[in-house]
Symmetry: D2
């Protein structure tokens, strides 16, 4: 929730915009990166979309695997597995649907944890020490998902260390403006002292599309990357930086205001395309260089561009409900309850 | 912060758009309405802009008086006096500037209260009973300004009723989703029981322009009107409905996401105007009918159009700081401290 | 949670202390009043203890009916029906037990509501308008039970007024230090405007015994009386003052520090009674006049005597859990869900 | 705020109780330990009370230095310097008094920091890295002082590292029930990563006397010891365990309910002493063994003895006000503002 530096990135895009560069509005969702990279997916490009299950209660599950550096480049997301649950709005779900979501979450977490720990799923996690990390600012509603999930979590370390169950510890490290420390610094220290086997980070994300707010849950074994989350994690939290595998659970709670502006430009272009008299102009607008487009949007939003976000009015309720569903999913995954 | 029905209004506009109708993005600020009504102001049209003071610390004060129904129609705001303080961002102010803002606020409140009560300012307010009302949802950050100001307010009724001072009572009525009651119902009942002389309502507002978020304070003697505020007050809170004068203090904390979209359309049009090849298209886009523009924006934002808002990332801090400044201003105005 | 004036009351007591007067430590629980009045109960004295059910999950239910003024005098509680649920500690209950408690609560509420409205229980409450009132200070943990229950409550008025169901509205009136108004004033006004049939007040109580904290729920049709609750309601909220029946749900969350002191005096006396050399002194101490005992305790606790309370360390969690159980009970009683 | 094990300690006491052992009610204040150890103070016993300043605004300052193991044994407090500010109740102070308190606090902190870092006070703290630690449970009011102070603190590390000023970082480690980790584990890790020169821990304390609640601030260079604080720090936070000096700021916010019971026993004994007939019994009661006294109090309070505490009704407000004064004091001490 602090100003983001360097969020303005320039990328080569697919089909139509081949020649130009375009102002990229950030998304933390692999699913959205994949949509942006449409046409460039496929196993030959190192991106594999393996399953699409339509579940009860309107839950659907997509698995995107980024298999190699080629795929990572195409997606703008690191190599690893991304499981995405799409559900209805938390506020519209009844208890049954919420339980289904928790169960799907648990299944996904178990799968990622086994992959990360190189274990068979039947083996369970006896004696494994999981350090849960609630990222984000507890005092800023759309950034408070992580701290809230931690607030609901049953912590077993030091309380009931039963050899048959995993050991769960947890920390809400705060954000750099409050601590003067990188989250990575805090975690490195704690890891060295308490020697967990696995980090499970929970974070609020930024999406590209408004309809994803509070309706999509992303699980991944790639950790948290610089510049992701609603806040800004300058250093990543990954196996590379922390020395142990890092699973991440994220839910988009904001869309950058710039995304709305960019969508509007695209919509205007599409409208112009449809008119015979204006068709050429639409194409020109669509193909407008990223630099120009960036300046256009910057003019609309003012210099505070990157700080402004769009969030739904019921975000407080949504974050609260999702925090219960996610902690429930974690309980099921690791305690089997 | 609840869905707003019927926010889509259609108006005749000034200069260029004479022939069309345009989708109006809502603003609660008279200052912004006046900007929208530019060229149609002036005393002959029932709108008087009487003062513009450049104060110390970068505070400026504008007074807009809507004098009659003609002015009310031009402005889309009821007859009455609107005092607008423009300051820097709350987070950037030092204590001295905050005190200056509180003092300006106090002066404005005294002036409006005297006007409403038909008193001379020298007379002060001995024995006058002011009922302060903190509108909005305390659990939704950008809507919590009113409840927070009430939380800071010194309440004198029943505690120290000194005949030389005004009597201040206060209520946080909650929002309809929480109470099942219109705020007007609750206030009417309380007014009948406790017989205040004046209502002082504090509310979070929606603005048209992002740069006004947290930097503009509007004082008015026209009360609260249906559809205003961040939340949605179905029934107005006015002297007409409540039987006693209603002063309102408001600060914009959100901008509708639709405003960003509309601004983008305008910016695109302006860009097209500049190109010799695209000039005609820009003019056409600019003059696009309100209906069409509305559909364009609706397509961009989806059916939840009216619920989405843009708010700055530091809104929690901003609302907290402003709530102190505003309660301080009320204390100075009525207790003289 | 404000200073209580005149809490020092003097009463004639039973058996041993016949001659003296004793400093009474306040309780809001009829059950505890009855224990204090032991030996003076019985139908001939206007007190009827009609049922004592041992329920599943360790829940027990006691019904005390104060039938007439004679009983009211003996009990120090007004004429009416008091249903008391005794359960284990909220933190120790599993979901099943919590559901049982909610169900018992619902049954009790339905019974009291039918009694108050002079309806048969089979008739249900179609079209009946219930105004739920969350008493207490939301910002003071042990006093926040009422506001928290209201925060969980489904409000149906103005949203889904289905003729077959009751209409529920709700208000958190705040405390006098925050509003400058008696709760009775606020409620009278709202009642006049919205014409509910029944008030359902939820409040945190003071008990006499530490073991009752968070484990006892009292339902009554006698409303809220002056000086009851954790805070201090100067004016009662009763059918007499408000014009419609007032049901009250209360849970003790504090014990006055004076109660601990008084219990200690009694324990010392009992110890002295047991020693042959000290027996007479024990009896003397036990029979010590209320005035003397009061001064003794006052000396121990200092002049802030009546403001200090004892509360368990897990009160935050307890109030949170109970607020869910109570709102669940209200939903079941009135919406049948 | 968690159950405390092993709080029942037995000590040899001074004057009258020489022969018996007495149940000790815990205090975290050196001032109260000294009162308990009255008659045994004096430099020859390793306890030095060096200054007693009566300051403006009713602030007084006492310095107790425990000079050696002999003094530590007599006091039940480790070797080190204890500065105690006694002020009026936070709620009764005006802004001027609060500034005086902050200034005294700053002076005390500077003195302790210089002592700990072996620096001259004129040298200031350029480049010194202070890690502020907010101990306690943010969700339990009387235990939330530390987290609240951290919430107010200006953090300079990573933001504006000016060589002329100290570098301040901060952490709210949470409590063991929330994290599954000892605070010492978390801090050790962070210290290893970020290499601060000094820990400054802020914690809520338990006092022996009700009148100290919210009115006494203790500064010490001895760190935090096992079993101190409102919560229970199983492992101490000291230079010995953490490797760098640990200053601690503490304010008592609770008194154990057992203390009220014990005071009552003492008061009863004193009353009995005064009667000619009961004198011997009073002396006997006073001299009652600690074991017996413990059982007596345990009987009064029930088995949850050690968990119950007495806290004033305005503790929320008190903790809030004190958190501002303390953060102000820290700012003055280290930033000189």
């Amino acid at each position: 929730m602090r100003p983001r530096e360097g969020r303005r990135t320039v990328r080569r895009t697919g089909k139509k915009r081949e020649k130009g560069k375009t102002f990229e509005v950030r998304t933390d969702l692999a699913l959205e990166s994949r949509e942006g990279a449409a046409g460039r997916g496929g196993a030959e490009n190192g991106i594999e979309v393996r399953e699409w299950k339509e579940k009860n209660g309107g839950i659907s599950l997509t698995e995107v695997e980024v298999k190699n550096e080629k795929g990572a480049k195409a997606m703008g997301k690191p190599v690893g597995l991304y499981l995405t649950l799409e559900t209805g709005r938390a506020g519209d779900q009844d208890d049954g649907v919420r339980e289904d979501v928790a169960e799907e979450l648990a299944a996904g977490l178990r799968r990622l944890a086994c992959r990360a720990l190189k274990r068979k799923e039947e083996a369970g996690f006896p004696g494994i020490h999981v350090l849960a990390v609630g990222l984000g600012n507890p005092y800023v509603t759309p950034d408070s998902l992580g701290p809230r999930v931690l607030g609901n979590l049953r912590i077993s370390r030091k309380i009931a260390e039963d050899g048959d169950l995993p050991v769960v510890s947890g920390i809400v490290p705060g954000v750099m403006a409050q601590t003067g420390m990188e989250t990575a610094e805090i975690l490195k220290g704690i890891i060295r002292e308490t020697k967990p086997d696995l980090i499970l980070a929970v974070d609020a994300l930024a999406a590209r599309s408004i309809r994803r707010l509070g309706t999509t849950i992303q699980l991944t074994d790639t950790g948290i990357h610089p510049g992701s989350g609603v806040g800004n994690h300058r250093h990543g939290l990954t196996e590379e930086t922390l020395g142990i595998p890092v699973l991440a659970i994220g839910v988009p709670t904001v869309v950058g205001a710039a995304a709305v502006a960019q969508d509007t430009v695209a919509a205007v272009a599409a409208v112009l395309e449809q008119g015979s008299r204006t068709r050429g102009v639409g194409a020109w607008l669509e193909g407008m260089g990223g630099e120009e487009q960036y300046h256009l949007i910057r003019e609309v939003l003012g210099p505070e561009l990157s700080q402004l976000y769009v969030t739904p009015p019921d975000i407080d309720e949504t974050v609260k409900l999702l925090s219960f569903t996610i902690s429930e999913g974690i309980h099921r995954a690791f305690y089997g309850i």
